[in-house]
Each structure stands twice: as structure tokens, then as C-alpha cells.
Symmetry: none
Subunit: 155 residues, 2 copies
DNA sequence: TAGTATCCCATTGACGCCCATAGGTACCCA
DNA sequence: TGGGTACCTATGGGCGTCAATGGGATACTA
């Protein structure tokens, strides 16, 4: 499965539709459901999107927690605030009004690849936060520890 | 089988009928019984709904508990207080009067997706509780340990 | 026979589908 | 290698269909 990489800015029309960048759309091929899932990043006023597989993993993980536990309730917030957005024949999705509001999206949408998932931002908001992230990384002399590769197979 | 995801608010009419959101209804397709099961959440004045499959799982889990134990008795209450609600031709269900009363539902019903099942709330009641859950999750720095998929492990 | 529970029909408003266009890119061919 | 052409992605708009809702008719039951 292709990874989500790179940044793309697309226009949003008055119906609330945005084209999902073609390279990102391709990563969803082979799903039983032709579309994506989005949920809020509580840390920022932005959203994250993923495919069916990841969402199922999330749901299964929640089921592993004891039923009726506080833990389960707290973490379910992601599922509760998620949206299932189908692609239209042109590969666009309709972003829910409530989403546009929290992210302060008006005319443009920024898609940010993050490997297994990607994020959805209002371009200016992203720039502001990204600037900070870069500074933090610099200040900290950021290093990245890679997982050792195990011959890589795919299931 | 599609997941229950997201929140939907629907109106309840004077006959006590509510439309179950179409995306949720779709998840019940292929069941021998065209409808859903509901049972009270003892922790809150709200209800949870699921399909046949999950109900069977629940019943099996009860059987795994020691016979005649307090635990078994307690959890059996779920099955005892459960209702089986059939869909009408338009995809609506009639919520039992007793349910409306405990949940303080009058004119609007909130459906909250939770993966394998979903919850039924009076909108305002939910808002009050959800606010707390989000804060708890944030405060705890809630991170979700995902079940491993294809050789992936979170760290 | 009154009350209740289904079913059927009608309305409306949102959403999905189809068509059309533009701009850019990749490809082909001379 | 330059130009031209065909394709494809992003975008806009019109229209039909379907989901949500309300009301009336009918069957069932106590």
C-alpha cells in the first residue's frame, strides 16, 4: 500500500467539496469502502484521515479494553467524532460544516502526508504550527530512532 | 461489516418513532432479524444498541463467567433489560416509553457511533458528559495502544 | 370497540451523480 | 528536440434520487 507523502493544496467549492489529491486517493484502492475516515486531532484545530484498515484496528483496540470502563469511554471519543466520507465519482469528499468551522477552513484545504495517514489543515494554521515544530526540532537537536527493518514483507 | 462511526441527531415524532441514521442501518444488513437490540448503560442515563452478532458475543461472554456468581447476575441484567426493536419500512424504530423517560429524551435523539455498537442519548446530556471525557482523555495524555496489525507495533 | 401498533403515501431538503470546462502534463511523432 | 495532441486532474454547476419526517389509513389486540 502506497504511503501518503507530500503536501497538496486544493480549493473547496461552495458545496463543501474538495478533491482529495490523486496520489492520496490511490492509497485507498482495494478498500471495500470507497472513501476515507477523518477524526479531529484534539491537540490542534486540524484533522487526520485514514482508511478502513486503520479504523478497524482502532475499533478492535477499543474492544480489547474492558466494556463500560472509563478508559474505553475516553478513547472512544475518536470514533465518536469521526466521519466516514465517501468519494464522489470525481474523487472529491464533502467536509462536514462542523469540521470546516473548527479548522477555520474557508476556501483552501491543505493535505499533509504522514505515511500511514494524512492530515487536513487550513493552510495558514498549518504554517504557524509547522514553524514552531521546526524550531522545537532544531532546539532539541532532533534525532530520529528508526525501527530496524525486518526484511520487510507485506501481508 | 461497516463500523458505527460519528454522531447523528434525529427528530422523534409524537408516535415515538425515530429514523436510525442510514449509515448505521447499513451495518445491520444481512442480519436474519431486521432491527436492533438496545440495553441500558448503567453508568449513564443513556442506552447502547448493537446487532445480532454482538448480542450473541455478549451472551457468550456471560456464559464464560462462573455460574451463579454475582458477576454473572450483574451482567445478566443487560440481557434482561434489553429490547429488540424492529425497523419500520422507512428505517425507523419506536423507542419504548420507559427508555425515553430514563434518558430524558423528548424531541431529539442523538446517535453516537462506537465501532461495533452505538449509543443513544439525549443531546444535552451527552454534551455534558462528553466534555468531561475529552478533558480526561487529554489530561491523561491519552495515547492509544493499538492492537498490532502486520508486524507493526506502536512504541 | 377503543387503543395501539404497522404500514403506506406525500413532502422537502440534502446529497450523490452526471456532464462540461480548463489547465497542465505526458506522450508521440516528425 | 520541438511542437502538437491526447489524457487526466482539478473544478463548477445542474439535476435526479434518496433519506428524514409527518400524517393518515388499516390491522391487531386487549
Amino acid at each position: 500500500m502506497p504511503l501518503f507523502v507530500g503536501r497538496y493544496v486544493n480549493r473547496i467549492d461552495k458545496k463543501g467539496r474538495v478533491s482529495v489529491p490523486k496520489p492520496f486517493r490511490d492509497a485507498f484502492e482495494g478498500q471495500s469502502f470507497n472513501g476515507l475516515y477523518v477524526y479531529p486531532l484534539f491537540k490542534f484545530n486540524a484533522f487526520e484521515a485514514c482508511g478502513e484498515e486503520f479504523m478497524n484496528r482502532l475499533s478492535d483496540s477499543l474492544d480489547d479494553l474492558p466494556m463500560f470502563s472509563d478508559e474505553q469511554d475516553d478513547l472512544s471519543v475518536i470514533l465518536e467524532s469521526a466521519h466516514r466520507l465517501p468519494f464522489d465519482p470525481e474523487g472529491r469528499v464533502v467536509l462536514p460544516a462542523e469540521m470546516l468551522k473548527t479548522a477555520a477552513i474557508t476556501s483552501q484545504v491543505l493535505f499533509v502526508g504522514r505515511g500511514q495517514r494524512f492530515q487536513i489543515w487550513e493552510p495558514k494554521t498549518y504554517d504557524a504550527n509547522r514553524g514552531r515544530a521546526v524550531e522545537r526540532a532544531r532546539a532539541r537537536g532532533a534525532t530520529l530512532r528508526l525501527r530496524k527493518s525486518n526484511g520487510h514483507e507485506d501481508s
